[in-house]
């Protein structure tokens, strides 16, 4: 498996560290979020067999955090962009 880093190009898997499901957004208002919202954010996962959006850290390379869309059945990567904080707290 190779991950196309936007800075470094196609690099082997062993240069990267997995950062988990990127579709989960931290509750926007942590002080007021309900316990159910926290359980959902911390524990519950869609775990799809198919396209999965996930974080990867190019820890053995440029050290950028990436957001990668990968098919969990074939490891085919359809999108890899830099993970950047967006206004409002979400990550794109």
């Amino acid at each position: 498996m190779r991950i196309p880093c936007p800075w470094c190009g196609d690099r082997p898997l062993s240069e990267f560290t997995y950062g988990g499901d990127a579709s989960k957004a931290r509750p926007k208002n942590p002080e007021k979020a309900s316990p159910e919202e926290w359980v959902d954010y911390v524990y519950l996962r869609d775990n799809p067999a198919g396209k999965h959006t996930e974080y990867w850290h190019h820890s053995g390379g440029c050290r950028s955090w990436l957001m990668v869309t990968r098919d969990t059945r074939s490891h085919e990567i359809s999108r890899a962009v830099l993970a950047k904080p967006q206004p409002g707290g979400a990550t794109s």
Binding site: L13, S14, P35, Y43, R45, D46, N47, T72
Partner: protein, 417 residues
């Protein structure tokens, strides 16, 4: 038929042409009291114990492939109960006790070999942790023996115990009652036992949906038609999230791949189960002579039943560092199994918000050794509607109440357990 020395002699004399089939191949009926989704080790064990312990026999086990094609036939066959957390320790100890009587109970040789399970340590800190674990085990009534370097060398001479090893061995914690089991025989034995009680085992029957009316389960849709059921139990290992989703369940589970390896067969070199302390690596020699071993998870969500080369290299490095005599062995087989990794690394055996629907899964990579106890406690839950005392900590609610059972002490990162 009952297997015995007499039956072997009789069938040997007649050229082994008259052995009856071990289980029937029934057509699915229109309705059952209980439908179990998944005919893996845990599903078959559940069906067997529902019949044996609770007298319930109007049961169908629906398997989308054939018996033994999933994780029950894709593991490293190791059984042990050396868990630190009391909930796990007691559960897995019950499982080990069931393993000890299983061949006789099933009238089927599952080839339990209690050759001992040894976890080696390499640093004083690891030794302290091992001693703490050993003491915890003994307080829970589980056997544990501390070995020094000489003890490890005597037990498993193939391990590099020299002071110049990359990770010098300081000693190990041995569970003498640990060992290995013939994994396929477990599936076949439970299937035969359940079938003999009248359970219908239906292969090549994939569940495609659940019939749920007013928060109560009424049955399942399958590739071979609708089947009505009063109670439905999900027990599908790596596919837990996907099957759960069909019933509207959202689960604290990620699917990850774990790779296993088998070398060519060699003469006996290792007569115990050993785990490396410097990396995730466990190894056992099979009865056929092959060395069977596994490494760490690949570490990212995967439904591909194969892994990546980076982990292969890592596992090979661990193997050669731990047992240098393996360096010239060739691999015969190599495969990946999909593990449903929970957020705390412990399993889930639970009721669900849907009445009559039960869920068993999230076995991480501890599922094989848990097979009998998983079936035993899940059968209790399905039959009585209340959790078995040994599995009362394994409910789904623990992720809401905060009573998670986290052996490794890592956070909600399934790939790290």
């Amino acid at each position: 038929m009952r297997y015995s020395l007499g039956s072997i002699i009789r069938n040997a004399a007649t050229g082994h042409k008259h052995w009856p089939k071990q289980w029937r191949e029934p057509e699915p009926k229109k309705a059952y009291d209980i439908v179990l989704v998944g005919g893996g080790g845990h599903g078959l064990a559940t069906a067997y114990y529902l019949a044996r312990n609770h007298g319930l026999t109007n049961i169908a086990v629906l398997e989308k492939g054939y018996l033994g094609n999933g994780n029950i036939g894709r593991n490293t066959t190791i059984v042990r109960s050396n868990y630190l957390c009391p909930e796990n320790s007691q559960f897995y100890e019950h499982s080990l006790k069931l393993w000890e009587g299983l061949s006789r109970d099933l009238n089927y040789n599952v080839m339990l070999s209690q050759r001992g399970a040894l976890v080696v340590f390499h640093t004083p800190a690891q030794r302290d942790a091992a001693i703490r674990r050993g003491n915890a085990l003994r307080l829970n009534g589980v056997d544990a023996v501390l070995l020094d370097t000489a003890g490890v060398k005597k037990l498993a001479p193939a391990i590099d115990c020299s002071p110049t090893a990359r990770f010098p061995v300081l000693g190990g914690m041995l569970q003498p009652r640990g060992g290995s089991v013939r994994h396929d025989a477990v599936a076949w034995g439970f299937a035969r036992g359940a079938d003999a009680h009248g359970v219908d085992i239906i292969q090549n029957c994939e569940v495609t949906g659940f019939r749920i009316e007013k928060d109560r389960v009424r049955g399942v849709e399958t590739s071979r038609g609708s089947i009505a059921a009063k109670k439905v139990g999900i027990v599908v290992a790596g596919r837990s999230s996907l099957v759960g989703q069909m019933a509207g369940l959202r689960l604290p589970i990620e699917s990850h791949v774990l790779q296993c390896f088998v070398t060519e067969a060699i003469k006996p070199v290792l007569d115990t189960v050993v785990s490396f302390g410097a990396a995730h690596f466990s190894i056992v020699q099979s009865d056929k002579g092959g060395l069977v071993f596994n490494g760490d998870l690949d570490g990212y969500n995967s439904y591909a039943q194969r892994g990546n080369m980076a982990v292969v290299e890592n596992v090979a490095a661990s193997a050669v560092s731990f047992m240098p005599c393996m360096s010239r062995l060739r691999l015969l087989r190599h495969w990946g199994g999909i593990n449903d990794m929970t957020m705390d690394g412990s399993p889930i055996i639970t009721k669900t918000p849907v009445k009559g629907l039960f869920f068993n899964g999230g076995w991480c990579y501890g599922g094989f050794k848990a097979t009998p106890a998983s079936g035993w406690t899940y059968a209790h839950l399905i039959a009585n509607g209340e959790p078995h005392p040994l599995a009362s900590s394994y409910l789904l609610e623990r992720f809401e109440t905060g009573l998670v059972i986290n052996e490794s002490g890592t956070g909600p990162l399934p790939g790290t357990h």
